[in-house]
Point group: C2
Chain length 334, copies 2
């Protein structure tokens, strides 16, 4: 059952990973269309042993397309997803455009695969920080009721796109050479620095859009409106893997041995917890890896009831945080 | 009342800042002795209009010294502080050697200045992450009883010393040139990466020594054994300012306007909270600044009782986190 697949935003950071992931997972492809803005027309991208020319994205681009992987930002998704659906494609959208719409499933395949059944043409891929957090804690969530998640993120430049990754490199070179730091893509210098996530802030609450996504998307994916999420999202000087410091407040006492065992039956997460040599997940080592890595799993130092847990998670933002999760959704459709 | 002052570890990252801070604050100095290991003998360091030769640290180095500022690590403090005290000096120690000893005051001058009165020759300077966190939250602590502090840190290379700062630079250059990453000082690559704080881990609890310092020192400085601290300490790719994502669980409802007003009567903290332009404290901007900067002060998104607050703090690790706080302690002695 090979499919005709289109990639919208093929020349972007996530678009490139779509190509890598489809190839690596040997996704059954009858035909692959690479779509991007007119600026990219003329470029060719490598897929398996072929070079595929990039075509200009138009409303008519989706004739015969069966699965359309979108990753070109919310406004492109809003403009073109309906055309794709009306021409018969199923859209898997990596933007935030449709995530909170009631008739759009928001899916992490290891967590809520059954939700895709209700789709009406569009399936949304969750926010990268949300996916990585939920992958990291889901086996714990299945074991014990979680009241509250407090999370501080250490997010990579890739979440702001390929141009931001390039700018981080240019900023670092400029910094080391005592030259002015370029900030054309990023709002502030990120090299050897960090800043509060550069999504706009809801002035009334004081939360940025990235944090609000983590709150709302988590409730939707878990079908649990009562779970309480307190996120602080920070962009740091790394290229493509997000890290998250996560605190969980449980309704009941936890048992860490039981928790570690429970991850054995959950695919997509590796435990890397070597306190004796101070070796835990790090962005540089997790970059390019499919799995989310967790470590520093521990009881709260002062909570004698063992109802509070802490852990540290790292996942590749472009893979499980974006392209891999979307391709896994596509695999559920086969 | 000019003093004879000695700096132990004068050639280190904090030692250099001792010289800068003493000069900038015009600390009344009769004579300044610069002490370091024999390897540094022959070097001269600039202080005001003079160049002062570095002398080898010996037990006899403290004759006539009235104030000895130690920042050469715990083992040097343990070896030489007693000699300094027996020769009549008051030791202000930046290491963790004596911080938790009962007859050693642990002092942040804006918070518990009266504690220095009980000293018996040694006054300890707290851990840098502890100082920055307590400065950031102290006006809130004075307004409302705090039950619990949950903190995730974003710590700079400077906390591991001048050699670690240099290595971060060398690592970044190597990374950008696709060369092998040097890790002689730091345990793992830090450039474009991050890792769990490189202090040893207490295997039973799973907490590293940096986190345990934050827990124990906070209780001592605040004279509050019941305040609950849950820290996660992470080293990030920045040079000299620590950042901290802080969540406070209060006994009562908070009022952010009242909180912001309360900082006006507290010296050493600046509020930088500009949600409309997404501008908050950043390590590169706070580097070299005496004050701790805080921003993103907000109620919890989902806590209707307003008993949970979040904020983000950044402070120069070498200044308020180390040299400045120690010199402020010395000023209390004048």
């Amino acid at each position: 059952m090979s499919k005709v697949v289109a990639i919208v935003g093929a020349t972007g950071a996530v678009g490139q990973e779509f190509l890598n992931v489809l190839e690596k997972r040997n996704f059954p492809i009858k035909d692959l269309k690479l779509l991007a803005s007119s600026r990219s027309v003329g470029k060719k991208l490598k897929f398996k042993d072929t070079e595929i020319p990039v075509e200009e994205l138009k409303e008519s681009s989706f004739h015969n397309v069966e699965i359309a992987l979108f990753s070109a930002g919310s406004s492109i998704s809003k403009t073109y997803a309906a055309s794709a659906v009306s021409l018969g494609a199923i859209v898997i959208d990596n933007s935030s455009a449709f995530r909170m719409e009631e008739d759009v499933p928001l899916v992490v395949p290891e967590i809520n695969p059954e939700d895709i059944k209700t789709h009406k043409g569009i399936i949304a891929n969750p926010n990268c920080s949300t996916i990585i957090m939920l992958m990291a804690i889901y086996p714990i969530y299945k074991l014990y009721p979680i009241k509250k998640i407090i999370v501080s993120t250490y997010q990579a430049a890739s979440g702001a796109g390929a141009a931001a990754m390039k700018e981080l490199e240019l900023q670092a070179r400029a910094f080391l050479n005592n030259e002015p730091i370029p900030t054309k893509v990023l709002p502030y210098p990120l090299a050897f620095n960090l800043f509060s996530h550069n999504s706009s802030i809801d002035i009334e609450s004081g939360y940025n859009q990235e944090e609000i996504k983590m709150i709302k998307e988590t409730k939707k994916i878990l079908h649990n409106p009562n779970i309480h999420i307190s996120p602080t999202c920070i962009r740091v000087s790394t290229f493509r893997a997000h890290a998250e410091s996560i605190t969980l407040e449980l309704e009941v006492s936890a048992n860490i041995e039981e928790i570690k065992n429970s991850y054995k039956n959950f695919s997509g997460v590796q435990i890397l917890d070597r306190p004796e040599i101070n070796y835990f997940p790090m962005p540089l080592e997790v970059s390019g890896k499919d799995d989310v890595y967790i470590g520093r799993i521990r009881y709260d130092y002062e909570d004698k009831e063992k109802k509070v847990l802490h852990l540290f998670a790292v996942g590749d933002q472009l893979l499980k945080g974006a392209a891999l999760n979307a391709v896994q959704i596509a695999e559920l459709l086969l």
